[in-house]
């Protein structure tokens, strides 16, 4: 049932040109989503569990070079859910 990672929506966009591979985003993410090799100025961070993102923006706020942008998926930005469907089923 697990969706292959490359098909999952990834909200954490890292600009490879401005990322300085410092590791702060890995350090701060409360959800353990971002994995960055320590002490390696060549490799970019990997968003290993993109569907577990809380959209808190801590990664974006701490990035020293503004290399991270948090992007919201359609289902959050233009949500079509009927709220009444969240309010319980009644069994008689």
């Amino acid at each position: 049932m697990s969706t292959p990672q490359k098909e999952m929506f990834n909200p954490i966009r890292i600009n490879p040109e401005t990322c300085i591979k410092c590791n702060l985003c890995d350090w701060i993410c409360p959800g353990d989503l971002i994995y960055k090799e320590e002490d390696n100025r060549e490799t970019l961070p990997v968003i290993k569990y993109p569907d577990e993102c809380w959209y808190c923006g801590l990664c974006q706020s701490i990035c020293p070079t503004n290399a991270i942008t948090v992007v919201f998926p359609e289902q959050m930005v233009h949500n079509k859910t009927d709220v009444a469907s969240l309010l319980g089923k009644v069994i008689e």
Binding site: P30, D32, W54, C56, L58, F72, L86, L87, G88
Partner: protein, 575 residues
């Protein structure tokens, strides 16, 4: 995974590095005790439950007028909590508020408005005074974290505590694993403080995304679950909490919005909240969430947030404050193409969480006495996992009380810590290894989805006996499948443990909901088969404990403190 356990002996083990956990560590460190903090995330310098900064802090300041005194607020607490509250503990928390507020200021937190140099205090959520200081608390937690680091606490990050160690009803440590390194640690401690927050990821929301939640989705009732297994009593678990958010993003901000004057309108443009409460949008959170729920059920949706009438300076303040609490909210509105200053914003009811049922001072979780100690000796609880909850300041104050309680408990304790049985350690790790070795096991995401759907359908804002029994059957069947849960890696193993804790909390909530045969605080516990509030029979706590075959309940009049139900007696060490 490592082959053997790292062994740590300490004085105090704190589970959770959020506001409550940090504030519990501080008095212990000040008393010269050794403290180990296990933190599942990386939180020490940012607020746990809400990730970014704080935008408001509820406190008595004793500034002069009668309303700004503990006794005045305490008088209103029974009404604020619809009669279900531990007045002994709430009383202690409220009386300590001014002292703890000053202490946090002394740590370097500046609560004053940058422009005026004064405290900007607001009234919200039905409180009888302007107790909420609205401020830029981006650095709030950094100061608390700094004090903890300066005190030389040992902080284990990315470390999840999975089981408490208890002998003869005395807690003496815990077993934890680091899900980056795979290292297992067994910590022996003279006292344990559980401060791992509330329960999230338990029901559906508008976006359909499990990790899009009001409070931090990585708080998964770990303290409640472990405390339950250790023999502690829980209370108020039938009370559930929802908030109102922009539809599609379960984010913070409601307090700021209503206290700064926002309205809610339905599809007819009617400002309906006064139909539900004479305070309108300034009613308690549970009541305004309820109002919106009812409007949706009546077919009056969509419901909108309306800020268009507000003056520019208020809107500026609102815009700034909303980013403090959730950094990405302005970006969300921008992507959505909506300007909340000029347009209506459709709102939804958020997913549910188990914390404090939308009112202040009544918390859902581990029952504690006036020292913050649970029914298990040496096991303390504070913050959103305990039975007095009050946002950031509630966590700070009860956390500090628990820290002081720990110091008293340790000073009164003699004897050596028990040896940890090798069998216990091997068993815990063998279970974990089994999850990692499951080839075609049950994915934890699917298991959680079933839990969430069950809660949304039958244990959510509308409940009845048939639905609750069906929910309990479903949750019991899920429990049987737990050994087949599959973890792809160590991170997955951590999520598997979370998923189990979420399910257990849902089961406890359904059990408590079935027991309380009345409705109280609107949709925080709404029984369609018992739609009235029944003070004659139900001015009681519903206490849940681990029985031989699962959760069992009993009741206690709210005229008594919850500690009266503890079998260790109220032999609390003097405060």
């Amino acid at each position: 995974m490592t082959d053997d356990f790292v062994r740590l002996d300490t004085d105090v083990l704190v589970v959770g590095g959020g506001v409550a956990g940090s504030m519990a560590a501080i008095p212990a460190l000040e008393a010269g005790l050794k403290v180990v903090i296990c933190e599942k995330g990386k939180i020490l310098d940012h607020c746990g439950s809400i990730g970014c900064g704080v935008d408001h802090y509820l406190t008595i300041m004793e500034s002069g007028p009668e309303w700004d005194t503990p006794e005045f607020l305490l008088k209103h607490v029974p009404e604020l909590t619809d009669g279900i509250v531990d007045m002994a503990v709430a009383g202690r928390v409220i009386r300590e508020m001014p002292r703890i507020f000053r202490k946090i200021e002394a740590m370097g937190v500046d609560f004053r408005d940058r422009q005026t140099g004064d405290y900007y205090r607001l009234r919200s959520f039905g409180l009888p005074g302007t107790y909420h200081i609205n401020f830029d608390g981006t650095d709030f937690k950094k100061h608390l974290g700094e004090r903890v680091r300066k005190g030389k606490a040992t902080v284990l990050m990315r470390t999840m505590v999975v089981q408490l160690l208890v002998k003869d009803n005395r807690a003496y440590g815990a077993i934890a694993f680091n899900f980056r390194s795979g290292e297992w640690t067994v910590i022996r401690a003279k006292s344990v403080v559980l401060a791992a927050g509330d329960v999230n990821r338990i029901s559906q929301n508008a976006s359909g995304l499990a990790f899009d939640s009001w409070h931090i989705p990585y708080n998964t009732g770990d303290a409640q679950a472990m405390g339950y297994h250790a023999g502690a009593a829980l209370a108020n678990m039938e009370s559930v909490e929802a908030t109102l958010t922009p539809k599609g993003f379960s984010c913070q901000g409601l307090n700021a919005l209503v206290s700064l004057g926002a309205y809610f309108v339905n599809k007819a443009g009617e400002r309906f909240m006064f139909k539900y409460d004479k305070k309108g949008e300034n009613a308690r959170r549970a009541v305004i969430a309820d109002g919106v729920i009812n409007e949706y059920l009546l077919g009056n949706g969509p419901i909108y947030l309306d800020c268009r009438h507000l003056p520019q300076d208020m809107l500026d303040r609102m815009e700034h404050t909303l980013q403090v609490d959730r950094y990405t909210l302005p970006a969300y509105y921008q992507q959505k193409g909506v300007n909340f200053r000029e347009e209506l914003v459709e709102v939804s009811v958020s997913e549910l969480s188990i914390r404090r049922s939308g009112v202040y001072f009544r918390g859902s979780g581990l029952a504690v006495d006036t020292n913050g100690e649970t029914a298990v000796e040496g096991l303390f609880a504070a913050g959103d996992c305990a039975t007095v909850s009050g946002g950031i300041s509630g966590a700070a104050v009860l956390g500090h009380i628990a820290g002081e309680g720990v110091v008293q408990r340790i000073r009164a304790s003699t004897g050596a810590l028990p040896e940890v049985e090798r069998g216990t350690l091997d068993e815990v790790r063998a279970r974990a290894v089994a999850h990692l070795q499951q080839k075609d096991g049950l994915p934890w995401k699917a298991y959680e989805e079933t839990t969430r759907q069950t809660v949304s359908d039958y244990v959510g804002v509308r409940r009845n006996e048939q639905g609750l029994r069906l929910a309990l059957d479903t949750l019991a069947a899920l429990a049987k499948r737990e050994p087949t849960l599959k973890a792809d890696d160590l991170h997955g193993l951590m999520r598997v443990h979370e998923a189990k804790n979420i399910r257990l909390n849902a089961e406890i909530m359904a059990t408590a909901s079935l027991a309380r045969q009345e409705t109280r605080t609107g949709s925080s516990h709404f029984r369609m088969d018992y739609p009235k509030t029944d003070d004659l029979n139900w001015r009681k706590f519903v206490i849940v404990e681990r029985g031989a075959n699962g959760p069992v309940t009993r009741t206690l009049s709210t005229d008594q403190p919850l500690s009266a139900a503890f079998s260790r007696g109220n032999a609390a060490v003097a405060a």
